[in-house]
């Protein structure tokens, strides 16, 4: 399975399209949605159901929906704001810093 990270393009005819859609909902950054009629929307997708995806447009003020049938492709365009921010990541960083400063003081 592909890694759905920034820069990846998910086309509606891709075999892993459904997994891609789920990954988009999981992704903590913005995506660009291109519709079959050529319209594009940039925003944060937060939910998915049988017929619609639900998102907040980057520039709009309200929640919005798009029918899944109208989607041609989705590009993961924004930064993943969660990348490297987990508790484990932080513990690793902290331990590395501690080890570094311990080494320094020993020297």
């Amino acid at each position: 399975m592909r890694d759905f990270i920034q820069g990846v393009e998910i086309n509606s005819n891709d075999s892993d399209y459904e997994s891609g859609l789920r990954a988009v909902v999981d992704y903590r950054g913005d995506v660009t949605i291109e519709l079959v009629d050529g319209q594009t929307f940039e925003g944060y997708v937060f939910s998915l159901d049988k017929n619609f995806i639900h998102y907040f447009s980057k520039s709009g003020s309200r929640r919005d929906t798009i029918e899944r049938d109208r989607i041609l492709r989705i590009r993961i365009t924004g930064n993943d704001t969660a990348a490297g921010q987990s508790w484990d990541d932080w513990v690793k960083r902290r331990d590395a810093e501690r080890a570094k400063s311990q080494k320094k003081s020993q020297v």
């Binding site: 997994s19 789920r22 909902v25 999981d26 903590r28 950054g29 913005d30 925003g43 944060y44 937060f46 939910s47 998915l48 159901d49 639900h54 907040f56 980057k58 520039s59 003020s61 929640r63 924004g78 930064n79 704001t81 969660a82 921010q85 987990s86 508790w87 484990d88 990541d89 932080w90 513990v91 902290r94």
Partner: protein, 378 residues
């Protein structure tokens, strides 16, 4: 060493609040309503003035962090849900210009409001609020200065929070603390922290283990759960009489491995700018637009330890299990007397060296495909 009561651990919840919860739960029982909410988790914003390690609530694009719920949306959610208690986490709710208005409207509805805050702004914002039995500032404190400042990734926050707590107490507000204990917490330090909070004069403390996410049913799961039992046994065995808690004593027995509770994922439903979060405060599997839809369209059997879902195997957090404890209290005479006994005599806590653990039925199976679920980042 045998199980022993924890020397009458005090439960610090006002009688009026206990009565409000008890009568609400009994009403649900009489009506045969199984999926009733106990606490609405109302998240009016995700923005925060801290960036704590691992906190998933702030990991959103800037335009999402700028969005907030209006007071009307908050009140509508509280009305729709009907829970007697509303907890306002975040983000940092005190950053919201309309927070006092939101609280005022909830208090007018006779909701018991727990405004969760890191207390950095507490002292400067107190003028916005009026002391009432319906409003409690629940201050995030993850331990003594060293542990807390490390957990929130900023020096000086502990002192700032202490200052806010003192001022709020001086002005007659209800103040509690909420503490998450992670792997590596030192029991002696936690006990010292409880002493400090009691000296400070808070009404009560809430404590919960951090969420532990695992993907496979292996020995690690048992170790994690047993680690939690051991930690809480070490903390609560020989508990001090002076400690007061703002939570069910049966939940403390559960954390210490004296008894077992399954999760009640609908107990603390979450509402935020995206809508009603499916299925619980920690897992994010999408949102629905109404509370009714959340309750009626979620397949609740898919969640909790018994479901076999990998993410739920080690989860022992309060938002899923304290509602079970409360339901147990009012669900049977046995549960009721256990609560009375634990309240007046103290919860039964096994010795930290004990190898006695509660019986847990084996889950159906651990679902491999559940790993693609949105992982908890809360």
């Amino acid at each position: 060493m045998p199980t022993r009561p924890a020397k009458a651990l005090n439960v610090a919840v006002p009688i009026s609040q206990m009565w409000a919860v008890a009568s609400y739960v009994l009403k649900q029982k009489i009506q045969g309503n199984k999926h009733y909410p106990l606490v609405l988790m109302l998240e009016p914003l995700f923005r925060c003035n801290l960036a704590c390690a691992g906190c998933g609530k702030i990991q959103y694009p800037e335009h999402i962090l700028k969005r907030t719920l209006s007071a009307e949306e908050c009140w509508a959610a509280a009305d729709e849900c009907g829970a007697p208690i509303v907890s306002i986490p975040g983000g940092e709710p005190l950053l919201l210009p309309q927070i006092a208005q939101i609280v005022e409207g909830l208090v007018a509805r006779k909701k018991y409001v727990y405004l969760c805050t890191n207390a950095i702004l507490l002292k400067s914002k107190l003028d916005l609020f009026k002391p009432t039995k319906y409003l409690t500032f629940s201050v995030h404190m993850d331990g003594l200065k060293e542990e807390h400042d490390e957990a929130v990734c900023r020096d000086g926050v502990y002192e700032k929070a202490e200052e806010g707590i003192r001022e709020a107490l001086k002005r007659g507000f209800r103040v509690t603390t909420n503490t998450t204990l992670f792997d590596g917490a030192k029991p002696e330090r936690v006990r010292m922290f409880f002493d400090e909070m009691m000296k400070l004069g808070v009404e009560g403390m809430m404590v919960s283990p951090g969420y532990s996410y695992s993907k496979a049913w292996d020995q690690n799961h048992f170790l994690k759960r047993q680690k939690t039992f051991k930690l809480f046994r070490e903390v609560f065995h020989n508990a001090k009489r002076s400690w007061r808690f703002n939570q069910s004593p049966l939940f403390i027995e559960y954390l210490s491995g004296t008894r077992h509770f399954e999760c009640t994922p609908w107990g603390n439903p979450t509402y935020n700018i995206f809508g009603w979060q499916k299925p619980c405060y920690l897992l994010q599997e999408g949102y629905v637009s109404s509370f009714k839809e959340l309750i009626e369209t979620t397949n609740w059997d898919d969640y909790g330890r018994m479901s076999g879902r990998a993410e739920c195997q080690d989860c022992m957090v309060h938002c899923g299990h304290e509602p079970t404890a409360v339901d147990h209290t009012f669900g049977s005479m046995k549960g009721f007397w256990a609560t009375v006994r634990a309240t007046f005599v103290g919860p039964k806590i096994q010795s930290p060296d004990s190898s006695v653990f509660p019986y847990m039925s084996r889950p159906k199976s651990i679902s491999a495909d559940s790993t693609d679920t949105k992982a908890a980042r809360g």
